[in-house]
């Protein structure tokens, strides 16, 4: 059985991550600080596994550790404790192998905004070793499938709406044909129509491209609609991990309980209250 035939796409084993306030400061700044440096436990001994071909949701308020978890899987952070495996490859020890298997779409579309979708995606394609000629055709094709007209392909991204930019971000991820796609709040800030289109795209991905998706969101309906399984993070700790139906059955007070009810039952607050209480930045 090859690595990619393993039934487990992502295995997170007792992973913890602490951020120290002021870690980026210089020696003089640190010396001059009046107060001791604060540390934040962003991810606290989280363990989970994602089945190949599943859409796995990570639900939580801002500051709950969702994005940190995604960054740990996408090799952008090194865990302090525990380990993360992607199709059996350790993200720290086999970083380059993992990088070839994944792609990530983050809440903020990370683009060179003065460049056009074509220029940004061509850059991405070359980074992933795709021939320029092949990439150009694929880019027009994928963007067309996402409803971006060919005349927009050469315009600077900064002239596009956020919904359009997010679609280009998803196109960029699709271009590299990742077997694991990490979607970090891909619909946050989108209008209802764009949100719906992106959600449909995620479902199509699973159906037609055999892509495993890890999706973070604080949108309960989105999680309910898309995910095969959902983990709930609260202050860095995983407080539940089940199918949407399983969560409602186990934690719901009534048969008609929604995921919002479940979230309140598990964390003691609604997601809006959690976000208001979450530290800024």
């Amino acid at each position: 059985m090859s690595d990619l035939e393993t039934p487990i796409a992502v295995e997170i084993e007792a992973v913890s991550k602490v951020f120290v306030d002021g870690a980026s400061l210089g020696i003089v700044d640190r010396f001059r600080r009046q107060h001791p440096r604060k540390s934040v436990l962003a991810v606290d001994a989280v363990s989970l596994s994602v089945q190949r071909g599943h859409i796995y949701g990570v639900l939580g308020a801002n500051g709950s550790g969702k994005s940190t978890l995604i960054r740990l899987v996408s090799t952008l952070l090194v865990p302090d404790q525990g380990r993360v495996l992607v199709f059996g490859h350790d993200v720290v020890k086999e970083e380059m192998t993992v990088k070839r298997l994944i792609n990530r779409v983050s809440v903020e579309a990370a683009f060179f905004r003065v460049l056009s979708p074509m220029e940004n995606l061509l850059y991405a394609a070359r980074l992933y070793g795709i021939d320029g000629g092949v990439a150009r055709k694929r880019i027009v094709e994928i963007l067309g499938q996402l409803g971006i007209e060919s005349e927009k392909v050469g315009e600077p991204l900064q002239k596009m709406s956020r919904g359009m930019q997010q679609k280009v971000a998803i196109a960029r991820a699709l271009l590299t044909s990742p077997v694991l796609l990490l979607l970090d709040e891909p619909t946050t800030g989108l209008d209802p129509r764009s949100k719906r289109e992106v959600q449909q795209l995620v479902l199509d991905l699973r159906a037609h491209h055999d892509t495993t998706v890890v999706l973070t969101t604080h949108d309960m309906d989105e999680a309910d609609r898309l995910c095969d399984r959902i983990a709930v993070l609260h202050h860095g700790r995983m407080v539940a991990d089940d199918t949407p139906a399983g969560l409602k059955r186990v934690h719901g007070a009534t048969p008609a309980a929604t995921l919002e009810d479940i979230f309140m039952a598990l964390t003691g607050h609604s997601i809006e209250e959690e976000e208001e209480a979450a530290p800024v930045g």
């Binding site: 700044d29 996408s74 090799t75 792609n103 061509l122």
Partner: protein, 274 residues
């Protein structure tokens, strides 16, 4: 072989991306180019005016060429240094650093692409400045050995690339002040390297620093080559230190960069700007 092709493609990704960014930011490019031309002209006019300023007989054409070499070589070296040392700052500012660092590309490939663009961009830009400034002054290159000066500039580029990579580590390690630190490094190089004057006029302690600056060797060698016609063997005393500095600073820079990248991934400062 497939891996090599992939790395070449990836390396070209950075060249093409930077060409596209230069094209899209054309307004700023014109402003910076104009500023550099005016700066070169202003400095060179000091040489042209020296006889009038002092009221004494001065070899004006010598002085003009002396200052012109300084301003053009510095223009080239500083562009190469900036393009490499700011590769992190620039990506942080654009918000793309995480995407680039998540791609399956070795940091060596990333740097090769950045360096290739920096050198070609530096040559083109300095060429434009040379053409414009030459229209204002009579530049006497009758004694120049253009082959040896080209060799010296290429070897000097290697050592400046190494210095740029080492400087690029600063924004990676210090998200708040790193890019300012690279500016300080550049300013010190400008002061001590004899861009507009011989390093012998500097205080003793600054002359010590001048001897570890690759720009000092490039500038002194270029003047010997372009003003006195020194050939490659005659420039050995400049080429050898430059080669040694380049061959030492590039691997050191790459290793330190790798270490800083891992540290940034541990501390979570890869993306944060504060």
């Amino acid at each position: 072989m497939a891996t090599v092709i992939q790395e070449v493609r990836a390396s070209y990704a950075f060249v093409e991306r930077n060409i596209n960014l230069t094209r899209r930011y054309w307004g700023w490019e014109i402003v910076f180019l104009l500023y550099s031309i005016v700066n070169s002209l202003a400095v060179t006019f000091i040489g042209a005016a020296m006889q009038q300023i002092t009221g004494q007989k001065v070899d004006t054409s010598f002085l003009v060429l002396y200052l012109l070499i300084g301003t053009l070589v510095w223009s080239y070296l500083s562009v190469v240094f900036d393009a490499i040392s700011e590769m992190i700052t620039w990506e942080r500012w654009e918000g793309t650093i995480e995407y680039t660092f998540m791609a399956p590309v070795s940091r060596g490939t990333h740097m090769i692409g950045t360096v290739l663009f920096a050198i070609v961009y530096g040559i083109v830009r300095t060429g434009v400045i040379l053409v414009v400034v030459s229209a204002f002054f009579h530049v006497d290159l009758s004694k120049a050995d253009l082959f040896s000066s080209t060799v010296l500039l290429l070897v000097g580029s290697i050592s400046f690339v190494g210095l740029g990579i080492v400087a690029a580590v600063l924004p990676l390690m210090f998200t708040e002040r790193g890019s300012q630190m690279t500016r300080v490094v550049e300013a010190v190089l400008l002061l001590v390297s004899g861009v507009y004057y011989p390093v012998q006029v500097l205080p003793g302690w600054l002359q010590v620093i001048a001897r570890i600056s690759p720009a000092t060797y490039v500038l002194e060698g270029m003047r010997l080559s372009l003003m006195n016609g020194a050939n490659v063997p005659a420039l050995a005393g400049y080429l050898i230190p430059l080669l040694v500095m380049g061959l030492a600073s590039i691997p050191i820079g790459v290793v330190v960069f790798g270490w800083a990248e891992r540290a940034a991934k541990r501390s979570g400062t890869l993306k944060r700007s504060g």
